[in-house]
């Protein structure tokens, strides 16, 4: 997989666009079981990422991902900033400039482990890990872009009946059941945008 400058800028715009367009939806999900700032926080973070273009896309892929992560850490706020930011930063640290699919599998695994450590959490606790972990499994099994995108959507849906164990929603106990986890939804949106942009790249 080789991403030239144009493809890197397209990827950044797709990631940011997916979050910004769905900011209201993320906020309403968060109003149900959190503190209602997820859409606003993520939107602010990705607007800050967009503001670093075009220079951002001049960087090689690993450095670009690290820079995105750092911007998210500094701008998003809430717990999402460090969690999503850590994912991007660790992905950038682990990926070579022209990653193979195996590199992508290994790097996302490292990034997911870093998110687990940052949040002291595991899959099954109604967090973004409930999207990242199953999507990674599909990626590792050789799933194509369509399969990865479908799993991202379904995995976010599967958080609806879960009871939150970590994060603000855990304060609600059983009342967190019946609402989709906003962090899972935003992770799903980011993954969907990424694979759509990378569709013709990921198998090469």
């Amino acid at each position: 997989m080789s991403l030239d400058r144009v493809a890197r800028e397209r990827l950044v715009r797709a990631l940011a666009g997916a979050v910004i367009e769905h900011a209201d939806e993320l906020t309403s999900l968060d109003q149900a079981i959190g503190d209602g700032d997820h859409g606003l926080n993520m939107k602010r973070g990705f607007e800050a990422v967009l503001a670093t273009l075009p220079g951002l896309a001049d960087k090689a892929l690993p450095d670009m991902l690290k820079a995105i992560g750092m911007t998210l850490v500094m701008k998003v706020g809430g717990a999402s900033g460090p969690l999503v930011g850590t994912f991007f930063m660790e992905l950038g640290k682990a990926l070579p400039e022209q990653p193979s699919r195996a590199d992508l599998v290994a790097a996302t695994e490292k990034a997911i482990e870093a998110v687990k450590a940052r949040g002291r959490s595991e899959a099954g606790q109604k967090t973004l890990l409930d999207v990242l972990v199953p999507v990674h499994a599909v990626l590792a099994e050789g799933g194509d872009a369509r399969a990865i995108a479908a799993e991202a959507v379904q995995a976010a849906d599967r958080t609806t009946p879960m009871q939150a164990i970590r994060g603000r929603a855990s304060f609600l106990g059983e009342r967190s059941i019946g609402h989709m986890d906003p962090g899972s939804r935003s992770a799903s949106l980011l993954i969907g945008a990424a694979v759509e942009t990378l569709e013709f790249e990921v198998n090469t």
Binding site: D37, G77, A79, G81, P82, G85, R118, G167, R168
Partner: protein, 133 residues
């Protein structure tokens, strides 16, 4: 936002609400006095409710003491952002900053009281956390 008294462990207060953070700092100053380096931060980068890493890093710098810094936080994101900020510190400072698992107001007062007596960082953290136990 603070006054500097090097030597004793510094205290940093991190709340989603700048008013709570400032109010807790006022309580520390009134109840414990000026013997400890103290700083507070609260709010997201746009001034709304939330916490932000840059603000926490600045507060750690303001309250810095060779004896280290104890951070008191309120809810989830305050803790995660504080841990992120600690990891972004220079290597030689990282091990001298601890996030306490304690209620933010009571923990800050107790930690500052312990610090004002010259206790080391581990003891300051323990005192704040015993409030929960």
């Amino acid at each position: 936002m603070s006054s500097l008294r090097p030597g004793n462990v510094g205290i940093v207060i991190v709340s989603h609400s700048p008013k709570i953070a400032e109010g807790a700092a006022d309580m520390v100053r009134q109840m414990v006095g000026d013997a400890v380096p103290l700083a507070w931060t609260g709010g997201d980068v746009d001034g709304g409710l939330g916490t932000n890493v840059a603000g926490i890093l600045e507060a750690i710098e303001t309250a810095w003491s060779p004896a280290g810094v104890a951070i008191l936080v309120d809810l989830g994101g305050a803790e995660t952002n504080s841990e992120m900020a600690v990891e972004m510190l220079p290597e030689d400072r990282r091990a001298r900053v601890l996030v306490c698992n304690a209620p933010v107001v009571e923990g800050a007062v107790i930690a500052a009281t312990e610090s004002s007596g010259g206790s080391p960082l581990a003891a300051v953290k323990r005192s704040a956390e015993e409030f929960y136990a």
